[in-house]
Symmetry: C2
Amino acid sequence: MPPAALDALRARLAELADLSALARLAGWDQRTMMPPGGAPARAHVFATLERLAHHRATSDEIGGWLDELDGDGDGLSDLDRDLVRLARRDFERTQRVPADLAADLAQAAAEGQAAWQTARAASDFAAFVPALRRNVELARAYAGCFEGVEHPYDALLADYDFGLTAARVKEIFDPLAAKLSDLAAEAAARPAAPPLSVPLDAQRATVDALLARLGVTADSWRVDISPHPFTSWVGAQDTRITTRYEKDSKLEPVLAAIHEYGHGLYERQIPAELDRTNLGRGTSMSAHESQSKLWENHVGRHPAFATVIAAELAAGGFTIEPDALHAGATAVMPSLIRVSADPLTYPLHIVLRFEIEVALIEGSLEVSDLPVAWNDAMRRLLGVEVPDDAHGVLQDVHWSGGAFGYFPSYALGCLIAAQLWEALEADAGAQDDALRAGETGAIRMWLAEHVHVHGRRLDTEPLVEAATGRGIDPEPFLRHVTAYVRD
Amino acid sequence: MPPAALDALRARLAELADLSALARLAGWDQRTMMPPGGAPARAHVFATLERLAHHRATSDEIGGWLDELDGDGDGLSDLDRDLVRLARRDFERTQRVPADLAADLAQAAAEGQAAWQTARAASDFAAFVPALRRNVELARAYAGCFEGVEHPYDALLADYDFGLTAARVKEIFDPLAAKLSDLAAEAAARPAAPPLSVPLDAQRATVDALLARLGVTADSWRVDISPHPFTSWVGAQDTRITTRYEKDSKLEPVLAAIHEYGHGLYERQIPAELDRTNLGRGTSMSAHESQSKLWENHVGRHPAFATVIAAELAAGGFTIEPDALHAGATAVMPSLIRVSADPLTYPLHIVLRFEIEVALIEGSLEVSDLPVAWNDAMRRLLGVEVPDDAHGVLQDVHWSGGAFGYFPSYALGCLIAAQLWEALEADAGAQDDALRAGETGAIRMWLAEHVHVHGRRLDTEPLVEAATGRGIDPEPFLRHVTAYVRD
């Protein structure tokens, strides 16, 4: 007989999981289906959902159940012990933040995003300063709610990647940045690859055909179009990804679809016994990004898989040699905008943001000095000159919404992906032949057994250790992208 | 200064309105977008939403606020007095139903629907009997929670059409049925009109063009396809209707779209000051159906509007004379299936169901005797023989889900629509010329000012009185459909 407190706790966690599924559905709908006039009502719905979820996640009963279960821990299964451990962690973190501060954070985020949109359109950083300053202040106040963190940034990071610290990220990023900067300079000195230009119809046909090969079927997936590709795991067996098409674009729609597929697959392959618990989802932002990047970089950009993509493009009416396709998909050139950066220089954009946001949060950098710091770092890390703030410090939405600590996951995901890929090939053998034949079943299975199986039971770095035998290591990624420049 | 209890009550009502908007969104998604694999997870989400909404709608605080406001009623505006009055009514009705009974009802409904699907597919009523018996028992238990109702059916009716009673519905239906049966027999004796057959492309083009004429624009409406046409008011300025297309069908897709438009317009034209309160929605099922039927029968089937539809069909590549179109859209022929019945015989299908469900609820009819009662009534009211239960007693989903008391609104809606239409033309003048020109602005405005303006502040029959000067009266409907047979 499981203790009654466990039943009660599980019921509440199921409720919170369902509310979270509703929020994902409402978010998916907002970005794909909702008529624009629905925006104000949708904002109310989100606020209500968030308030209600907060109310239900912080109610005193939960503390009572947890206390009871702490005294009773020996009777629990391993899984239930993890469930209780994470429930206590989440409960205590949420309880530390006063309701007034939470409301201020939400309001400042909404106002910040509006201010940012105006400022970016006018490339006018000064217009964004007051809102950004307010977001920084509130983020510092938020960090101040948590005791026992070495650096205030650690408290922010914990919301996206629990267990990582500013010091650990710096330890990973510093040597990575040095080596990537050198490789970027090397690439910049070489002649640029001729740009790919894939017609719209061939893009669409190839996305559909590749996703079908990966197991995307209409009975439990949707594929839609949105301005920014994203994934929503609305429920078990209800995974929704999006991509976007642009006239004569490069291979982005295809790579974006494969990237989003990786996010979707992670959630789908988490064991059913974790469904509707606090353990039944991807464990962190960087673990999630490792899954999308593994599919994007190590499958989508694999030289052997280029044969498959080229065949699908040909079926869609566009002929290109696999080698030329691979060269186009792995071309390196330092540039201004993060979201369109190549895989090699991409982490440098992240290192820059990480350095700046750490300095903002610890108070060693003033908001008004941001553009200068940004432009200096772009010169130092990527060797490029920033022409205006719209193409520099104003390009990302994250800080306008108060999301400090989110950026590192984008680069950590790239590193972890490469590390997992090497472990996968060491374990399951080189995938070249399989990928040339368009077979990815062994990859899906390895990921299920070594990554997805854990759900949220392991945090980022313990998960990487369990799957690869060591903590986060940038070397596999460096090996991977060095081939882009020197092959 | 409004009393603090009013602020608290309004905040809770806004929250409940948002939860209800989420349920509508999840329902819309389920019927239009969700991959089939998402069904089990969606069932959990609905159950959680319902439990949470029930929890928030019945919490003791609400009783406290209402008591405070009752003592303080003089200080309230008229609107707030209505808000408090309806809040008390809803609160007390919800509180009367024990949580266990509510859970049993939900479970029996889910099981009943599954049993019905199997039984209907096999045309095997006996297989449906146990589940239906359970639903009837629970509906009687539910009715028993409410004191002071004359007939147990009244308590069920109140969930769909507050204020109506079995006695009042019978008083309206009995003479209606007698006259309609005679007209149906008269129609059955005439030669059948040649059936319309509109090609798919012309159906689609005509639906799009007509909805555009009615003001359906992409900024605040969506039009999708679903197996059963329906409307979802997801939020202010976010109205979603569906229709369905069938190869070489009659005019149904067009009339279904106009019908759903009527539901959507009702919710959209409710004053913004009622938004996110308990007053900001259509007041009852029959009031809602009156709006859809007004647009379907009195605009869509108007002889003058046939000119407009014929022009749009012609633009879509299908040529037909307006007279022939109108004859096809108003052809009368007694038949077996409610959802495909013509406008004249349709209410007879409802009278039959009303008589049977009243008898079931009062216990004067055994569930096992239903097929015989059904087939007898079909012979008596419509003069048709039922060949098997799939085309008879098993054709509707409602009872399988425990929805007793819902059916009358379908016929009452037809009656109220005709009554409103006569009042509208008496007030704003005959609409023939406007409809021949495709102009419906005056109709929309009259409905906004005489019906939609009230939101939920008036119940069904008081609303009809306010708009037409008298209670529900079948004569306008009889005048309307008599023209179908005798013109």
